[in-house]
Protein backbone atom coordinates (compact mmCIF):
# COMPACT_ATOMS: atom_id res chain seq x y z
CA UNK A 1 0.00 0.00 0.00
CA UNK A 2 2.94 2.30 -0.46
CA UNK A 3 3.30 3.35 -4.08
CA UNK A 4 1.33 6.51 -4.74
CA UNK A 5 0.06 6.05 -8.26
CA UNK A 6 -2.54 8.38 -9.66
CA UNK A 7 -5.95 7.33 -10.87
CA UNK A 8 -6.56 4.31 -8.70
CA UNK A 9 -10.03 4.02 -10.15
CA UNK A 10 -10.28 5.26 -13.72
CA UNK A 11 -13.32 5.51 -15.94
CA UNK A 12 -13.10 6.84 -19.47
CA UNK A 13 -16.37 7.28 -21.32
CA UNK A 14 -17.83 4.20 -19.69
CA UNK A 15 -21.26 3.23 -20.96
CA UNK A 16 -23.75 0.58 -20.14
CA UNK A 17 -26.67 -0.02 -22.45
CA UNK A 18 -29.39 -2.53 -21.63
CA UNK A 19 -31.97 -3.98 -23.94
CA UNK A 20 -35.29 -3.75 -22.20
CA UNK A 21 -37.94 -6.06 -23.61
CA UNK A 22 -41.46 -4.95 -23.09
CA UNK A 23 -44.59 -6.85 -23.92
CA UNK A 24 -46.66 -4.88 -26.36
CA UNK A 25 -49.28 -7.50 -27.02
CA UNK A 26 -49.78 -11.22 -27.19
CA UNK A 27 -46.39 -12.70 -28.11
CA UNK A 28 -45.24 -9.32 -29.34
CA UNK A 29 -42.35 -7.57 -27.74
CA UNK A 30 -40.67 -4.27 -28.30
CA UNK A 31 -36.98 -3.96 -27.54
CA UNK A 32 -35.91 -0.61 -26.23
CA UNK A 33 -32.36 0.38 -25.44
CA UNK A 34 -31.82 1.96 -22.08
CA UNK A 35 -28.61 3.83 -21.40
CA UNK A 36 -28.15 3.10 -17.71
CA UNK A 37 -24.72 4.70 -17.68
CA UNK A 38 -23.92 7.26 -20.32
CA UNK A 39 -20.30 8.05 -21.10
CA UNK A 40 -19.12 8.54 -17.54
CA UNK A 41 -15.52 9.56 -16.90
CA UNK A 42 -13.91 10.10 -13.54
CA UNK A 43 -10.86 9.23 -11.57
CA UNK A 44 -10.50 8.45 -7.91
CA UNK A 45 -7.06 8.64 -6.32
CA UNK A 46 -5.79 6.10 -3.90
CA UNK A 47 -6.96 6.92 -0.38
CA UNK A 48 -9.90 9.09 -1.37
CA UNK A 49 -13.30 8.73 0.22
CA UNK A 50 -15.98 9.57 -2.31
CA UNK A 51 -19.75 9.77 -2.05
CA UNK A 52 -21.57 8.50 -5.13
CA UNK A 53 -25.14 9.68 -5.03
CA UNK A 54 -28.20 9.98 -7.16
CA UNK A 55 -31.88 9.03 -7.23
CA UNK A 56 -33.00 5.43 -7.55
CA UNK A 57 -32.43 4.09 -11.04
CA UNK A 58 -29.91 6.80 -11.83
CA UNK A 59 -27.17 4.33 -12.68
CA UNK A 60 -25.37 4.18 -9.33
CA UNK A 61 -25.54 0.47 -8.83
CA UNK A 62 -24.83 -0.22 -12.49
CA UNK A 63 -21.60 1.75 -12.09
CA UNK A 64 -20.70 -0.13 -8.92
CA UNK A 65 -21.42 -3.43 -10.68
CA UNK A 66 -19.05 -2.49 -13.49
CA UNK A 67 -16.38 -1.39 -11.00
CA UNK A 68 -16.60 -4.72 -9.18
CA UNK A 69 -16.54 -6.81 -12.33
CA UNK A 70 -20.11 -8.06 -12.09
CA UNK A 71 -21.14 -6.33 -15.29
CA UNK A 72 -19.19 -5.78 -18.49
CA UNK A 73 -19.31 -2.20 -19.80
CA UNK A 74 -20.84 -1.71 -23.25
CA UNK A 75 -18.20 0.86 -24.13
CA UNK A 76 -15.38 2.86 -22.63
CA UNK A 77 -12.33 2.05 -20.57
CA UNK A 78 -12.42 1.10 -16.93
CA UNK A 79 -9.55 0.27 -14.57
CA UNK A 80 -9.40 -0.46 -10.88
CA UNK A 81 -5.89 -0.77 -9.49
CA UNK A 82 -4.77 -1.23 -13.07
CA UNK A 83 -7.07 -4.21 -13.54
CA UNK A 84 -9.88 -4.45 -16.07
CA UNK A 85 -12.65 -5.65 -13.72
CA UNK A 86 -14.77 -7.54 -16.24
CA UNK A 87 -11.80 -9.41 -17.69
CA UNK A 88 -10.05 -10.27 -14.47
CA UNK A 89 -12.92 -10.54 -12.08
CA UNK A 90 -11.27 -13.06 -9.77
CA UNK A 91 -7.93 -11.27 -9.60
CA UNK A 92 -9.71 -8.03 -8.82
CA UNK A 93 -11.79 -9.70 -6.11
CA UNK A 94 -8.69 -10.08 -3.96
CA UNK A 95 -8.11 -6.36 -4.00
CA UNK A 96 -11.61 -5.02 -3.41
CA UNK A 97 -14.19 -5.27 -0.67
CA UNK A 98 -17.89 -4.92 -1.32
CA UNK A 99 -20.77 -4.37 1.09
CA UNK A 100 -24.23 -4.53 -0.40
CA UNK A 101 -26.38 -2.59 2.02
CA UNK A 102 -29.48 -4.68 2.38
CA UNK A 103 -28.03 -7.96 1.22
CA UNK A 104 -25.96 -9.74 3.78
CA UNK A 105 -23.20 -12.07 2.66
CA UNK A 106 -23.02 -13.59 6.12
CA UNK A 107 -24.30 -17.09 6.80
CA UNK A 108 -27.72 -16.71 8.29
CA UNK A 109 -27.84 -19.77 10.51
CA UNK A 110 -24.19 -19.87 11.55
CA UNK A 111 -22.26 -17.92 14.17
CA UNK A 112 -20.67 -14.76 12.82
CA UNK A 113 -17.22 -16.20 13.26
CA UNK A 114 -17.95 -19.05 10.83
CA UNK A 115 -18.52 -16.55 8.03
CA UNK A 116 -15.17 -14.96 8.80
CA UNK A 117 -13.43 -18.32 8.78
CA UNK A 118 -14.81 -18.89 5.30
CA UNK A 119 -13.43 -15.51 4.17
CA UNK A 120 -10.10 -16.51 5.68
CA UNK A 121 -9.92 -19.52 3.41
CA UNK A 122 -11.73 -18.00 0.45
CA UNK A 123 -9.20 -15.19 0.13
CA UNK A 124 -6.29 -17.33 1.34
CA UNK A 125 -5.45 -14.76 3.99
CA UNK A 126 -2.26 -15.70 5.86
CA UNK A 127 -3.14 -16.89 9.38
CA UNK A 128 -1.29 -14.17 11.26
CA UNK A 129 -2.75 -11.45 9.08
CA UNK A 130 -6.25 -12.87 9.47
CA UNK A 131 -5.92 -12.96 13.27
CA UNK A 132 -4.62 -9.44 13.38
CA UNK A 133 -7.29 -8.06 11.06
CA UNK A 134 -10.10 -9.89 12.76
CA UNK A 135 -9.05 -8.67 16.22
CA UNK A 136 -8.67 -5.11 15.05
CA UNK A 137 -11.91 -4.94 13.04
CA UNK A 138 -13.96 -6.70 15.67
CA UNK A 139 -12.70 -4.31 18.30
CA UNK A 140 -13.26 -1.21 16.20
CA UNK A 141 -16.77 -2.26 15.26
CA UNK A 142 -17.53 -3.56 18.72
CA UNK A 143 -18.54 -7.07 17.69
CA UNK A 144 -16.47 -9.03 20.20
CA UNK A 145 -19.44 -10.28 22.16
CA UNK A 146 -21.31 -11.33 19.04
CA UNK A 147 -18.84 -13.61 17.27
CA UNK A 148 -20.53 -16.77 18.49
CA UNK A 149 -24.05 -15.55 17.84
CA UNK A 150 -25.91 -16.90 14.76
CA UNK A 151 -26.30 -14.12 12.24
CA UNK A 152 -30.07 -14.47 12.17
CA UNK A 153 -30.15 -13.24 15.79
CA UNK A 154 -28.22 -10.04 15.08
CA UNK A 155 -29.90 -6.67 14.74
CA UNK A 156 -29.72 -4.88 11.42
CA UNK A 157 -26.98 -2.60 12.69
CA UNK A 158 -24.94 -5.47 14.08
CA UNK A 159 -25.31 -7.37 10.84
CA UNK A 160 -24.15 -4.38 8.81
CA UNK A 161 -21.07 -4.06 11.00
CA UNK A 162 -20.56 -7.79 10.61
CA UNK A 163 -20.73 -7.44 6.84
CA UNK A 164 -18.20 -4.63 6.88
CA UNK A 165 -15.76 -6.81 8.81
CA UNK A 166 -16.29 -9.62 6.29
CA UNK A 167 -15.51 -7.26 3.43
CA UNK A 168 -12.27 -6.05 4.99
CA UNK A 169 -10.60 -9.17 6.33
CA UNK A 170 -8.49 -9.58 3.20
CA UNK A 171 -7.15 -6.01 3.35
CA UNK A 172 -8.80 -4.72 0.19
CA UNK A 173 -7.36 -1.54 -1.24
CA UNK A 174 -10.77 -0.24 -2.14
CA UNK A 175 -14.07 -0.65 -0.37
CA UNK A 176 -17.42 -0.22 -2.11
CA UNK A 177 -20.35 0.41 0.17
CA UNK A 178 -23.89 0.42 -1.09
CA UNK A 179 -26.16 2.26 1.38
CA UNK A 180 -24.13 1.29 4.44
CA UNK A 181 -26.32 3.10 6.97
CA UNK A 182 -29.77 2.45 5.55
CA UNK A 183 -32.21 1.38 8.23
CA UNK A 184 -29.64 1.59 11.03
CA UNK A 185 -30.27 3.12 14.43
CA UNK A 186 -28.43 6.29 15.41
CA UNK A 187 -25.78 4.52 17.47
CA UNK A 188 -24.96 2.02 14.73
CA UNK A 189 -24.87 4.77 12.13
CA UNK A 190 -22.34 6.79 14.05
CA UNK A 191 -20.26 3.68 14.79
CA UNK A 192 -20.12 2.80 11.13
CA UNK A 193 -19.23 6.33 10.11
CA UNK A 194 -16.55 6.66 12.75
CA UNK A 195 -15.08 3.37 11.65
CA UNK A 196 -15.01 4.31 7.97
CA UNK A 197 -13.29 7.58 8.76
CA UNK A 198 -10.64 5.76 10.71
CA UNK A 199 -10.20 3.08 8.07
CA UNK A 200 -9.68 5.70 5.43
CA UNK A 201 -7.38 7.85 7.53
CA UNK A 202 -5.20 5.15 9.02
CA UNK A 203 -5.13 2.38 6.44
CA UNK A 204 -5.49 4.62 3.43
CA UNK A 205 -8.27 2.45 2.07
CA UNK A 206 -10.06 4.04 -0.85
CA UNK A 207 -13.78 4.20 -0.14
CA UNK A 208 -16.61 4.68 -2.60
CA UNK A 209 -20.04 4.80 -1.07
CA UNK A 210 -23.55 5.26 -2.34
CA UNK A 211 -26.10 6.62 0.07
CA UNK A 212 -29.40 8.38 0.49
CA UNK A 213 -28.28 9.89 3.78
CA UNK A 214 -26.75 13.33 3.37
CA UNK A 215 -25.19 13.04 6.80
CA UNK A 216 -23.13 10.09 5.59
CA UNK A 217 -21.65 12.33 2.98
CA UNK A 218 -21.30 15.34 5.25
CA UNK A 219 -19.44 13.40 7.86
CA UNK A 220 -17.35 11.23 5.59
CA UNK A 221 -16.69 12.53 2.12
CA UNK A 222 -14.80 15.54 0.92
CA UNK A 223 -15.79 14.69 -2.59
CA UNK A 224 -19.20 13.94 -4.01
CA UNK A 225 -20.28 12.67 -7.39
CA UNK A 226 -23.88 13.00 -8.43
CA UNK A 227 -25.30 10.79 -11.13
CA UNK A 228 -28.70 11.04 -12.71
CA UNK A 229 -30.13 9.46 -15.86
CA UNK A 230 -26.77 7.77 -16.29
CA UNK A 231 -24.83 11.02 -16.52
CA UNK A 232 -22.38 12.48 -14.09
CA UNK A 233 -24.06 15.75 -13.05
CA UNK A 234 -21.64 16.95 -10.43
CA UNK A 235 -18.18 16.02 -9.26
CA UNK A 236 -16.63 18.15 -6.55
CA UNK A 237 -16.61 19.10 -2.90
CA UNK A 238 -19.73 18.75 -0.81
CA UNK A 239 -19.94 22.48 -0.17
CA UNK A 240 -20.19 23.08 -3.89
CA UNK A 241 -23.07 20.64 -4.09
CA UNK A 242 -24.93 22.58 -1.44
CA UNK A 243 -24.29 25.74 -3.37
CA UNK A 244 -25.30 24.17 -6.63
CA UNK A 245 -28.42 22.78 -5.06
CA UNK A 246 -29.09 25.78 -2.81
CA UNK A 247 -30.60 23.24 -0.52
CA UNK A 248 -32.76 24.22 2.38
CA UNK A 249 -33.40 22.76 5.76
CA UNK A 250 -36.84 22.75 7.30
CA UNK A 251 -37.77 23.95 10.78
CA UNK A 252 -40.97 22.34 12.01
CA UNK A 253 -42.63 24.48 14.69
CA UNK A 254 -45.49 23.40 16.94
CA UNK A 255 -47.29 26.38 18.45
CA UNK A 256 -49.78 26.40 21.30
CA UNK A 257 -52.60 27.26 18.98
CA UNK A 258 -53.42 27.99 15.39
CA UNK A 259 -51.81 31.29 14.37
CA UNK A 260 -51.21 33.18 11.15
CA UNK A 261 -47.93 32.32 9.38
CA UNK A 262 -44.86 33.22 11.45
CA UNK A 263 -43.20 36.45 10.42
CA UNK A 264 -39.69 35.10 9.87
CA UNK A 265 -36.60 37.09 8.84
CA UNK A 266 -35.75 36.49 5.16
CA UNK A 267 -34.51 34.26 3.58
CA UNK A 268 -36.40 32.01 6.03
CA UNK A 269 -40.06 31.69 5.16
CA UNK A 270 -43.15 29.69 6.05
CA UNK A 271 -43.82 27.02 3.43
CA UNK A 272 -46.73 25.22 5.03
CA UNK A 273 -49.27 25.67 7.83
CA UNK A 274 -51.38 22.88 9.26
CA UNK A 275 -53.31 23.91 12.39
CA UNK A 276 -50.83 24.83 15.13
CA UNK A 277 -47.94 23.31 13.16
CA UNK A 278 -45.90 25.38 10.74
CA UNK A 279 -43.01 24.52 8.41
CA UNK A 280 -40.27 27.07 7.75
CA UNK A 281 -37.60 26.69 5.10
CA UNK A 282 -34.15 28.22 5.61
CA UNK A 283 -30.79 27.83 3.83
CA UNK A 284 -28.97 24.65 4.74
CA UNK A 285 -25.74 26.52 5.23
CA UNK A 286 -27.08 28.75 7.99
CA UNK A 287 -27.47 27.94 11.65
CA UNK A 288 -30.98 27.41 12.89
CA UNK A 289 -30.22 29.03 16.23
CA UNK A 290 -31.06 32.71 15.50
CA UNK A 291 -34.28 31.70 13.79
CA UNK A 292 -35.27 29.46 16.69
CA UNK A 293 -34.40 32.17 19.25
CA UNK A 294 -36.50 34.71 17.42
CA UNK A 295 -39.54 32.44 17.17
CA UNK A 296 -39.22 31.35 20.78
CA UNK A 297 -39.18 34.99 21.88
CA UNK A 298 -42.20 36.04 19.89
CA UNK A 299 -44.46 32.99 19.66
CA UNK A 300 -46.03 30.50 22.13
CA UNK A 301 -43.75 27.59 21.29
CA UNK A 302 -44.54 23.98 22.26
CA UNK A 303 -41.98 21.98 20.30
CA UNK A 304 -39.73 22.21 17.30
CA UNK A 305 -37.47 20.07 15.15
CA UNK A 306 -35.07 20.60 12.27
CA UNK A 307 -35.23 18.38 9.18
CA UNK A 308 -32.13 17.94 7.08
CA UNK A 309 -32.50 18.21 3.34
CA UNK A 310 -32.25 14.78 1.77
CA UNK A 311 -30.21 14.07 -1.26
CA UNK A 312 -33.18 13.72 -3.53
CA UNK A 313 -34.28 17.25 -2.59
CA UNK A 314 -30.79 18.67 -3.10
CA UNK A 315 -30.54 17.07 -6.49
CA UNK A 316 -34.04 18.09 -7.45
CA UNK A 317 -33.27 21.75 -6.75
CA UNK A 318 -29.97 21.37 -8.52
CA UNK A 319 -31.67 20.24 -11.71
CA UNK A 320 -34.28 22.94 -11.37
CA UNK A 321 -31.41 25.43 -11.39
CA UNK A 322 -29.78 23.82 -14.40
CA UNK A 323 -33.00 23.73 -16.32
CA UNK A 324 -33.55 27.41 -15.62
CA UNK A 325 -30.01 28.23 -16.64
CA UNK A 326 -30.50 26.29 -19.85
CA UNK A 327 -33.65 28.21 -20.64
CA UNK A 328 -32.16 31.67 -19.98
Amino acid sequence: MSGVDSGFIELDGVEKVFDVRRKTGFMKRAVRQVRAVDAISFRVERGEMVGYIGPNGAGKSTTIKMLTGILTPSAGRLRVAGIDPSRERKRLAHRIGVVFGQRTTLWWDLPLLDSYRLMHRMYRIPDARYRENLDRLVELLDLGALLDVPVRQLSLGQRMRGDIVAALLHDPEVLYLDEPTIGLDVVSKSKVREFLRELNAERGTTVLLTTHDLQDIEQLCKRVMVIDHGCLMYDGPLAGLHEAGESERTLVVDLERELPPIDAPAPARVVRVDGPRQWLAFPAGESAAPLVARIAAEYPLVDLSVREPDIEAVIATMYGEQAERAIS
Binding site: R152, Q153, L154, S155
Partner: protein
Protein backbone atom coordinates in the same frame (compact mmCIF):
# COMPACT_ATOMS: atom_id res chain seq x y z
CA UNK B 1 -71.28 -9.34 4.60
CA UNK B 2 -68.34 -7.04 5.06
CA UNK B 3 -66.14 -9.95 6.07
CA UNK B 4 -67.26 -11.99 3.07
CA UNK B 5 -66.00 -9.17 0.93
CA UNK B 6 -62.75 -9.14 2.85
CA UNK B 7 -62.09 -12.83 2.20
CA UNK B 8 -63.12 -12.46 -1.42
CA UNK B 9 -60.51 -9.72 -1.71
CA UNK B 10 -57.90 -11.95 -0.08
CA UNK B 11 -58.76 -14.74 -2.51
CA UNK B 12 -58.52 -12.34 -5.44
CA UNK B 13 -55.13 -11.30 -4.10
CA UNK B 14 -54.00 -14.93 -4.01
CA UNK B 15 -55.17 -15.38 -7.59
CA UNK B 16 -53.39 -12.27 -8.82
CA UNK B 17 -50.19 -13.03 -6.99
CA UNK B 18 -49.75 -16.32 -8.80
CA UNK B 19 -50.98 -14.81 -12.05
CA UNK B 20 -47.92 -12.56 -12.08
CA UNK B 21 -45.56 -15.54 -12.37
CA UNK B 22 -46.17 -16.05 -16.06
CA UNK B 23 -42.94 -17.75 -17.00
CA UNK B 24 -43.26 -20.03 -13.98
CA UNK B 25 -46.76 -20.95 -15.08
CA UNK B 26 -45.66 -21.82 -18.60
CA UNK B 27 -42.77 -23.83 -17.18
CA UNK B 28 -45.20 -25.65 -14.91
CA UNK B 29 -47.51 -26.49 -17.78
CA UNK B 30 -44.56 -27.95 -19.66
CA UNK B 31 -43.38 -30.00 -16.71
CA UNK B 32 -46.83 -31.35 -15.91
CA UNK B 33 -47.31 -32.31 -19.54
CA UNK B 34 -43.99 -34.17 -19.62
CA UNK B 35 -44.80 -36.06 -16.42
CA UNK B 36 -48.26 -36.78 -17.74
CA UNK B 37 -46.81 -38.35 -20.88
CA UNK B 38 -44.37 -40.51 -18.89
CA UNK B 39 -47.08 -41.72 -16.51
CA UNK B 40 -49.62 -42.34 -19.25
CA UNK B 41 -47.27 -44.71 -21.05
CA UNK B 42 -46.53 -46.66 -17.89
CA UNK B 43 -50.23 -46.86 -16.99
CA UNK B 44 -51.12 -47.99 -20.49
CA UNK B 45 -48.53 -50.76 -20.20
CA UNK B 46 -49.93 -51.68 -16.81
CA UNK B 47 -53.54 -51.72 -17.98
CA UNK B 48 -52.46 -53.68 -21.09
CA UNK B 49 -51.29 -56.39 -18.73
CA UNK B 50 -54.26 -56.13 -16.46
CA UNK B 51 -57.37 -54.60 -18.00
CA UNK B 52 -59.97 -53.45 -15.44
CA UNK B 53 -57.34 -52.95 -12.74
CA UNK B 54 -59.01 -51.11 -9.85
CA UNK B 55 -62.26 -51.06 -11.77
CA UNK B 56 -60.84 -48.65 -14.37
CA UNK B 57 -60.49 -49.45 -18.04
CA UNK B 58 -57.48 -48.12 -19.93
CA UNK B 59 -59.19 -44.88 -21.02
CA UNK B 60 -60.19 -44.21 -17.42
CA UNK B 61 -56.64 -44.83 -16.24
CA UNK B 62 -55.41 -42.34 -18.84
CA UNK B 63 -58.03 -39.82 -17.71
CA UNK B 64 -56.88 -40.33 -14.14
CA UNK B 65 -53.27 -39.52 -15.08
CA UNK B 66 -54.18 -36.24 -16.74
CA UNK B 67 -56.54 -35.26 -13.97
CA UNK B 68 -53.68 -35.85 -11.56
CA UNK B 69 -51.43 -33.52 -13.56
CA UNK B 70 -54.25 -30.98 -13.68
CA UNK B 71 -54.81 -31.06 -9.92
CA UNK B 72 -51.15 -31.43 -8.96
CA UNK B 73 -50.53 -27.69 -8.65
CA UNK B 74 -54.16 -26.77 -8.08
CA UNK B 75 -54.36 -28.75 -4.86
CA UNK B 76 -50.65 -28.25 -4.10
CA UNK B 77 -50.52 -32.02 -3.74
CA UNK B 78 -46.87 -32.07 -2.81
CA UNK B 79 -47.05 -28.72 -1.00
CA UNK B 80 -46.10 -25.26 -2.19
CA UNK B 81 -49.34 -23.37 -1.60
CA UNK B 82 -50.38 -20.98 1.15
CA UNK B 83 -48.65 -23.11 3.78
CA UNK B 84 -45.27 -22.18 2.35
CA UNK B 85 -45.83 -18.47 3.00
CA UNK B 86 -47.40 -19.21 6.35
CA UNK B 87 -44.39 -21.25 7.42
CA UNK B 88 -42.08 -18.46 6.39
CA UNK B 89 -44.09 -15.94 8.39
CA UNK B 90 -44.03 -18.16 11.42
CA UNK B 91 -40.31 -18.77 11.02
CA UNK B 92 -39.48 -15.08 10.75
CA UNK B 93 -41.94 -14.05 13.45
CA UNK B 94 -43.96 -11.90 11.08
CA UNK B 95 -46.94 -14.02 12.03
CA UNK B 96 -47.31 -11.77 15.09
CA UNK B 97 -48.55 -9.05 12.74
CA UNK B 98 -51.17 -11.38 11.27
CA UNK B 99 -52.50 -12.18 14.70
CA UNK B 100 -53.42 -8.55 15.27
CA UNK B 101 -55.36 -8.40 12.04
CA UNK B 102 -59.12 -8.09 12.55
CA UNK B 103 -59.67 -11.24 10.53
CA UNK B 104 -59.77 -14.94 11.23
CA UNK B 105 -56.30 -16.39 10.66
CA UNK B 106 -57.48 -19.70 9.23
CA UNK B 107 -60.11 -18.18 6.95
CA UNK B 108 -57.63 -15.56 5.79
CA UNK B 109 -55.14 -18.18 4.64
CA UNK B 110 -57.88 -20.43 3.26
CA UNK B 111 -59.18 -17.57 1.13
CA UNK B 112 -55.70 -16.85 -0.22
CA UNK B 113 -55.15 -20.52 -0.99
CA UNK B 114 -58.49 -20.83 -2.78
CA UNK B 115 -57.49 -17.88 -4.98
CA UNK B 116 -54.17 -19.56 -5.68
CA UNK B 117 -55.88 -22.88 -6.46
CA UNK B 118 -58.24 -21.22 -8.90
CA UNK B 119 -55.37 -19.64 -10.76
CA UNK B 120 -53.29 -22.83 -10.78
CA UNK B 121 -56.31 -24.70 -12.13
CA UNK B 122 -56.92 -22.26 -14.97
CA UNK B 123 -53.35 -21.27 -15.70
CA UNK B 124 -51.56 -24.50 -15.10
CA UNK B 125 -54.01 -27.37 -14.86
CA UNK B 126 -56.25 -27.02 -17.87
CA UNK B 127 -53.62 -27.09 -20.62
CA UNK B 128 -51.98 -30.45 -19.73
CA UNK B 129 -55.47 -31.92 -19.34
CA UNK B 130 -56.49 -30.69 -22.79
CA UNK B 131 -53.19 -31.96 -24.19
CA UNK B 132 -53.98 -35.37 -22.73
CA UNK B 133 -57.51 -35.33 -24.12
CA UNK B 134 -56.14 -34.42 -27.53
CA UNK B 135 -53.43 -37.07 -27.84
CA UNK B 136 -54.63 -39.96 -25.68
CA UNK B 137 -57.92 -41.83 -25.39
CA UNK B 138 -59.83 -40.47 -22.39
CA UNK B 139 -63.09 -41.37 -20.69
CA UNK B 140 -64.90 -38.07 -20.21
CA UNK B 141 -68.64 -37.70 -19.51
CA UNK B 142 -70.74 -35.98 -22.13
CA UNK B 143 -73.63 -34.89 -19.89
CA UNK B 144 -73.66 -31.88 -17.58
CA UNK B 145 -74.47 -33.61 -14.27
CA UNK B 146 -71.14 -35.40 -13.70
CA UNK B 147 -69.24 -32.23 -14.57
CA UNK B 148 -71.35 -30.26 -12.09
CA UNK B 149 -70.77 -32.85 -9.38
CA UNK B 150 -67.08 -32.86 -10.30
CA UNK B 151 -66.94 -29.10 -9.73
CA UNK B 152 -68.35 -29.55 -6.24
CA UNK B 153 -65.80 -32.27 -5.41
CA UNK B 154 -63.02 -29.98 -6.63
CA UNK B 155 -64.12 -27.26 -4.26
CA UNK B 156 -64.26 -29.68 -1.35
CA UNK B 157 -60.91 -31.15 -2.39
CA UNK B 158 -59.40 -27.66 -2.28
CA UNK B 159 -60.61 -27.17 1.29
CA UNK B 160 -59.34 -30.58 2.45
CA UNK B 161 -55.99 -30.00 0.80
CA UNK B 162 -55.69 -26.62 2.50
CA UNK B 163 -56.71 -28.02 5.87
CA UNK B 164 -53.97 -30.68 5.70
CA UNK B 165 -51.30 -28.16 4.76
CA UNK B 166 -52.51 -25.64 7.34
CA UNK B 167 -51.98 -28.20 10.08
CA UNK B 168 -48.52 -28.90 8.76
CA UNK B 169 -47.65 -25.21 8.60
CA UNK B 170 -48.68 -24.60 12.20
CA UNK B 171 -46.21 -27.24 13.35
CA UNK B 172 -43.47 -24.72 12.52
CA UNK B 173 -44.46 -22.86 15.70
CA UNK B 174 -42.83 -25.75 17.52
CA UNK B 175 -40.24 -26.95 15.01
CA UNK B 176 -39.05 -23.42 14.02
CA UNK B 177 -38.19 -24.60 10.51
CA UNK B 178 -40.39 -25.97 7.77
CA UNK B 179 -38.01 -28.18 5.80
CA UNK B 180 -38.84 -31.43 7.56
CA UNK B 181 -42.56 -30.83 7.55
CA UNK B 182 -42.45 -29.96 3.87
CA UNK B 183 -40.83 -33.30 3.19
CA UNK B 184 -43.54 -35.10 5.13
CA UNK B 185 -46.19 -33.14 3.23
CA UNK B 186 -44.56 -34.12 -0.02
CA UNK B 187 -44.31 -37.82 0.75
CA UNK B 188 -47.80 -38.16 2.15
CA UNK B 189 -49.30 -35.90 -0.51
CA UNK B 190 -47.84 -37.79 -3.43
CA UNK B 191 -48.40 -41.28 -2.10
CA UNK B 192 -51.73 -41.06 -0.31
CA UNK B 193 -53.37 -38.81 -2.90
CA UNK B 194 -52.76 -41.44 -5.53
CA UNK B 195 -50.21 -39.59 -7.66
CA UNK B 196 -48.11 -42.77 -7.86
CA UNK B 197 -50.96 -45.12 -8.60
CA UNK B 198 -54.75 -44.67 -8.34
CA UNK B 199 -55.84 -45.57 -4.83
CA UNK B 200 -58.40 -48.04 -6.16
CA UNK B 201 -55.54 -50.02 -7.74
CA UNK B 202 -53.74 -50.41 -4.38
CA UNK B 203 -53.81 -54.04 -3.27
CA UNK B 204 -55.45 -55.53 -0.18
CA UNK B 205 -55.53 -53.91 3.23
CA UNK B 206 -53.25 -51.10 2.14
CA UNK B 207 -55.83 -50.19 -0.48
CA UNK B 208 -58.63 -50.22 2.06
CA UNK B 209 -56.66 -47.94 4.38
CA UNK B 210 -55.54 -45.37 1.80
CA UNK B 211 -59.04 -45.05 0.43
CA UNK B 212 -60.41 -43.71 3.73
CA UNK B 213 -57.55 -41.33 4.56
CA UNK B 214 -58.15 -37.58 3.97
CA UNK B 215 -55.83 -37.55 0.95
CA UNK B 216 -58.35 -39.74 -0.88
CA UNK B 217 -60.53 -36.61 -0.97
CA UNK B 218 -57.97 -34.84 -3.19
CA UNK B 219 -57.62 -36.74 -6.45
CA UNK B 220 -59.41 -40.06 -6.17
CA UNK B 221 -62.80 -38.61 -5.27
CA UNK B 222 -62.95 -36.00 -8.03
CA UNK B 223 -61.71 -38.59 -10.53
CA UNK B 224 -64.29 -41.19 -9.49
CA UNK B 225 -67.09 -38.63 -9.53
CA UNK B 226 -66.08 -37.34 -12.95
CA UNK B 227 -65.97 -40.83 -14.43
CA UNK B 228 -69.12 -41.99 -12.66
CA UNK B 229 -67.30 -44.59 -10.55
CA UNK B 230 -68.84 -43.48 -7.29
CA UNK B 231 -72.02 -41.93 -5.93
CA UNK B 232 -71.45 -38.16 -5.86
CA UNK B 233 -73.33 -37.68 -2.60
CA UNK B 234 -71.14 -40.27 -0.90
CA UNK B 235 -68.07 -38.49 -2.22
CA UNK B 236 -69.33 -35.09 -1.00
CA UNK B 237 -70.02 -36.50 2.45
CA UNK B 238 -66.58 -38.11 2.62
CA UNK B 239 -64.81 -34.91 1.58
CA UNK B 240 -66.95 -32.60 3.74
CA UNK B 241 -66.42 -34.86 6.75
CA UNK B 242 -62.66 -34.66 6.43
CA UNK B 243 -62.79 -30.93 5.68
CA UNK B 244 -64.70 -30.19 8.89
CA UNK B 245 -62.55 -32.49 11.01
CA UNK B 246 -59.25 -31.13 9.70
CA UNK B 247 -60.30 -27.49 9.85
CA UNK B 248 -61.43 -28.00 13.44
CA UNK B 249 -58.10 -29.61 14.28
CA UNK B 250 -56.42 -26.63 12.63
CA UNK B 251 -58.31 -24.22 14.88
CA UNK B 252 -57.31 -26.16 17.98
CA UNK B 253 -53.67 -26.19 16.98
CA UNK B 254 -53.89 -22.53 16.03
CA UNK B 255 -55.10 -21.45 19.43
CA UNK B 256 -52.39 -23.52 21.09
CA UNK B 257 -49.84 -21.93 18.78
CA UNK B 258 -50.94 -18.35 19.30
CA UNK B 259 -50.58 -18.85 23.02
CA UNK B 260 -46.92 -19.40 22.50
CA UNK B 261 -46.09 -16.98 19.73
CA UNK B 262 -42.38 -16.90 19.47
CA UNK B 263 -41.15 -13.82 17.74
CA UNK B 264 -37.70 -14.75 16.59
CA UNK B 265 -35.01 -12.13 16.93
CA UNK B 266 -34.52 -10.14 13.80
Amino acid sequence: MGSARLYAAVAAGGFRRYATYRAATVAGVFTNTVFGVILVFTYMALWDQKPQLGGYDQAQAVTYVWLGQCLYATLAIQGGGAEKDLMERIRTGEIAVDLYRPADLQLWWLAGDVGRALFQMLGRGVVPFLFGALFFPMALPTSVTPWAAFTVTLLLATVVSFAIRYLAALSVFWLLDGMGVNQVLMVTGIFFSGMVLPLNAFPGVLGEVVRVLPWAAQLQMPADVLMGETDPLRAFAFQAGWAVALLAAGRLLQSAATRRVVVQGG
